[in-house]
């Protein structure tokens, strides 16, 4: 029950915002809130890797891009020319392909969004797994550089590959029919449903991670952060746990990428850029590293502001500034810091220590 | 020469030293003994400024050290030979010694060279190895290098943290001979040792530290005979142990 309370607050708030915007005729806010929700999905995934398991990843935009790009490429790439190959026939027989027309009126044969989505997420998961085995053995600067390097490679591949549209990215990505009558698309008419799809997905993602953190596995992850050596000695297979949580967060990023790409109807190379990865790290840091709710709230707020262009030409500078300010003055995150108030926290600590001392003295 | 009053110190939340008071007079060897974790290394680190004291005073020749940053302390004539030697492994032996003479920088190069020759005279083996990387020396040679490096700045007080660690008994004897020689040349030595027996044999006075407190102090030869020392430091069965009775 206690756990459900904040979720209930969240759900109420989501519905309230939709109702208020509908009532005041400001429904356009839902656009950025929908997009922010997808970014927040990636951010809570990263939060578990960084804050709980203590592994820095400067390449998460790469996984987002893998998700988005693979799904976009599969749903837009015309397979008409390959129609007669065995593989395509097999796919067609399995109902994985769908025919249509392109903007010039030529006939088009592409992969269905569901199949593309699954392929994209699977692809990101497998890449994370293969990459994670060597990368997660590294620590500190080496880990940072390896993940950064991975992000850059993805960016380069996207920029240099004709399949991924090079610098233009992929446009005209079709909408993604989740259920009959419910599809992920950026059409003006589908705004409310998409708002709920995005937030529904985010809540599901949050609940799952919340559960994970609050369990045997979550404890094991936090123990890795606390002391890898002691965690090993306690029987935690640190390599496996790090890898698994890395894969899970990559999957979160890929899902976010797939959905946002279908919502936007396209994706460009900027989604794979280094600045994006750095921005995600900044948001997790502001939210308070090991603080899922904080990361989520900051993910929503900062992305919302950024997508509305509030920061203008200082967008990147703002995130650079946030990184420095947080790391210098409040490395545990701005939310946990602000709310408690430093004084209150010190008071409580002092009292606790005193009571402890009494007990200790009693023992001695 | 060195006076410590009600010193408290520790690492973060962990308080290691609790109200330690002691003194060292000019020209004597004072040893601090105690079990692992008793706070001996913490005490030396605090005196040499590597750790900040949370309360209390450290007076060295009338000057309070507790507010000084670590690099300001050696020029006053108070140097530490740290535990585990801590030599500059990737620098040559001679460079190590020259760096030890850093506080002499203002007095000029001549003095530095004179000191260098003095150390070579004291530790001939270092002269032989002057161009080798310090990291390639044996444990005993490294300990001598660490001592030579400390002596370079013409200190009046030398603090030594467990010089016998990891060294063979014969080499330990050599090291202790040098310590006595240093005292005879007018230096003051504050020696922290786990090897209580040997330490008390060379020392003039001793302090026994237990969980951050001075539990005993006195003349070295008295402490050597003291049952309490045996109890506090070596365990209550120590008496039997040492005397070889069962």
């Amino acid at each position: 029950m206690k756990k459900l309370f904040p979720l209930a607050v969240l759900a109420t708030l989501i519905i309230a915002i939709q109702l208020i915007t509908g009532w005041t005729d400001t429904r356009f806010y839902l656009t950025q809130l929908t997009m922010s929700a997808y970014y927040a999905l990636l951010i809570i995934g990263l939060c578990v890797v960084m804050g709980y398991a203590g592994q820095l990843s400067l390449g998460h935009a790469g996984f987002f891009a893998i998700g988005g790009y693979v799904s976009a490429a599969l749903t837009t790439r015309n397979l008409e020319g390959l129609k007669d190959t065995v593989l395509i026939r097999l796919f067609d027989g399995l109902g994985l392909l769908v025919a249509g027309q392109d903007i010039y009126g030529d006939s088009l044969l592409v992969v269905t969004p569901w199949a593309a989505c699954l392929a994209a997420v699977l692809c990101a998961g497998v890449i994370a797994w293969v990459l994670g085995i060597p990368v997660l053995k590294l620590k500190g600067h080496y880990l940072a550089m390896a993940t950064l390097g991975f992000g850059i490679i993805i960016y380069r591949i996207v920029l240099a590959s004709e399949v991924f549209g090079e610098a233009d990215g992929i446009s005209d990505v079709p909408s993604f029919p989740l259920l009959p009558g419910l599809s992920v698309s950026g059409d003006f008419g589908a705004r409310e449903e998409n708002y709920y799809i995005a937030w529904g997905l985010l809540i599901i993602g949050l609940v799952l991670l919340r559960n994970l953190v609050d369990s045997r596995v979550g404890r094991a992850l936090r123990s890795i952060h606390g002391s890898e050596e002691a965690a090993e000695a306690t029987g935690v297979d640190t390599a496996r746990f790090k890898l698994q949580v890395f894969v899970i967060s990559a999957v979160y990023a890929a899902v976010a990428g797939v959905f946002l790409t279908h919502y936007n109807g396209g994706i460009g190379p900027s989604e794979a850029g280094v600045m994006k990865s750095v921005r995600y790290v900044a948001i997790v840091a502001v939210g308070g590293m090991a603080h899922l709710w904080g990361a989520m709230v900051m993910g929503i707020v900062l992305n919302f502001l950024s997508l509305r262009g509030v920061f203008g030409s200082y967008d990147d500078a703002v995130f650079g500034f946030i990184l420095i300010a947080i790391m210098l003055f409040a490395p545990n995150g701005i939310l946990s810091w602000n709310w408690r108030g430093y004084g209150a926290m010190l008071l409580r600590r002092g009292r606790r220590r005193e009571s402890l001392r009494e007990k200790t003295d009693g023992l001695a | 020469m060195l006076k410590i009053r009600n010193l408290q110190s520790g690492y973060g939340k962990l308080k290691v030293l609790k109200n330690v008071s002691m003194h060292v007079a000019k020209g004597e060897i004072v040893t601090i003994i105690g079990a692992n974790g008793a706070g001996k290394t913490t005490l030396l680190s605090t005196i040499s400024g590597l750790l900040r004291a949370t309360a209390g005073d450290i007076l060295f020749e009338g000057q309070n050290l507790s507010a000084l940053p670590p690099q300001k302390i050696p020029p006053l004539g108070c140097v530490l030979v740290p535990e585990g030697r801590q030599i500059f492994a990737s620098l040559s032996v001679e460079e190590n010694l020259i760096l030890g003479g850093h506080p002499l920088k203002k007095t000029g190069k001549k003095e530095l060279l004179r000191q260098l020759e003095r150390q070579y005279a004291l530790f001939p083996i270092l002269k032989e190895r002057r161009d080798q990387y310090a990291g390639t020396l044996s444990g005993g040679e490294q300990q001598m290098l660490a001592m030579g490096r400390a002596l370079m700045s013409k200190p009046t007080l030398i603090m030594m943290d467990e010089p016998s660690t990891g060294l063979a008994p014969l080499i330990v004897q050599d090291i202790f001979k040098v310590i006595v020689k240093m005292r005879d040349e007018g230096k003051t030595v504050l020696l922290v040792e786990q090897n209580a027996q040997t330490a008390l044999q060379v020392a003039d006075r001793g302090y026994v530290l237990e969980t951050g407190k001075v539990v005993l102090q006195g003349k070295a030869h008295e402490l050597l005979e003291d049952v309490e020392v045996k109890r506090a430091y070596l365990g209550k069965d120590y008496g039997d142990f040492y005397d070889g009775k069962s």
Binding site: R222, S223, T234, L356 | T165, Q201, G235
Partner: protein, 251 residues
């Protein structure tokens, strides 16, 4: 056959023989101590047994199984628990949570089950909590269950580490200087505790400086010097061994 058998174990760091041709066994249900001056290779030996370091050569057999070369978590899974010389608690976790991590090997909820909070994982979680609280009670630190572990007093931190190692339900417990930094009173309590652990049927191997503790509780003692085994015998015999006295006490 001994529970733990170490044969001809060797570890080189660069040119230094940290552990040099050491062999001994630990009998089921006994308390064995490893002593020796600083730098004798005791902690290295521990790390070799626990798998934190890989031996240059030699073998470690546990319950008849060769465990040398396995990863620490695999060795823990075989039933070897350990504590650390400089206490390694998980920061940002309460004392109870620290001990609960110790139950890791005695529970099985994986990623998927945890994310979905399956009914059986909740039940398992409850068991983990109860068992961990029991251990905290055993060590008389249950009052601090919800206090952040690293903010506890030194002795209490040590106790949490003990509880965490015991939560594993190990057959063999490796204790690295359990009495370091404790006063006489606390040391005496530790010695009682170790005896109690042995009475639970857990074999104990410890490295210790405090001679009184070692002499009081050990069934057998191994003396190391410069990485080599100098002697191995019952406490009374070690006390009489002149070579040990010479090396250990200097003259």
């Amino acid at each position: 056959m001994a529970l733990l058998e170490i044969s001809r174990l060797h570890k080189k760091f660069g040119g230094l023989h940290a552990v040099n041709d050491v062999s001994f066994g630990v009998a089921q249900g006994s308390i064995k101590a490893v002593i020796g001056p600083n730098g004798a290779g005791k902690t290295t030996l521990f790390n070799l047994i626990a798998g934190s370091l890989a031996a240059t050569s030699g073998r470690v057999r546990f319950n008849g199984e060769d465990i040398q070369g396995q990863k620490p978590h695999q060795i823990a899974a075989c039933g070897i628990g350990r504590t650390f010389q400089n206490i390694k608690l998980f920061h940002d976790m309460t004392a109870l949570e620290n001990v609960m991590v110790g139950r890791h090997l005695r529970s099985r909820a994986g990623f998927v089950a945890s994310m979905l909070h399956m009914p059986w994982t909740l039940k398992e979680e409850k068991q983990i909590r109860e068992k961990s609280l029991e251990l905290l009670e055993l060590l008389e630190i249950d009052a601090y269950a919800d206090v952040e572990a690293t903010s506890l007093a030194f002795g209490q931190q040590r106790a949490v580490e003990f509880a965490r190692a015991l939560a594993l339900e190990p057959t063999l417990l490796l204790l690295d200087e359990p009495a370091a930094g404790l006063n006489m009173q606390e040391t005496a309590e530790v010695s009682k505790l170790i005896a109690r652990i042995r009475d639970l049927g857990i074999t104990v191997l410890l490295v210790e400086h405090d001679m009184s503790l070692v002499m009081e509780i050990s069934d057998e003692i191994v003396v190391l010097s410069f990485g080599q085994k100098l002697a191995e015998d019952v406490p009374s015999a070690i006390q009489n061994n002149t070579e040990v006295i010479k090396v250990y006490l200097g003259e």
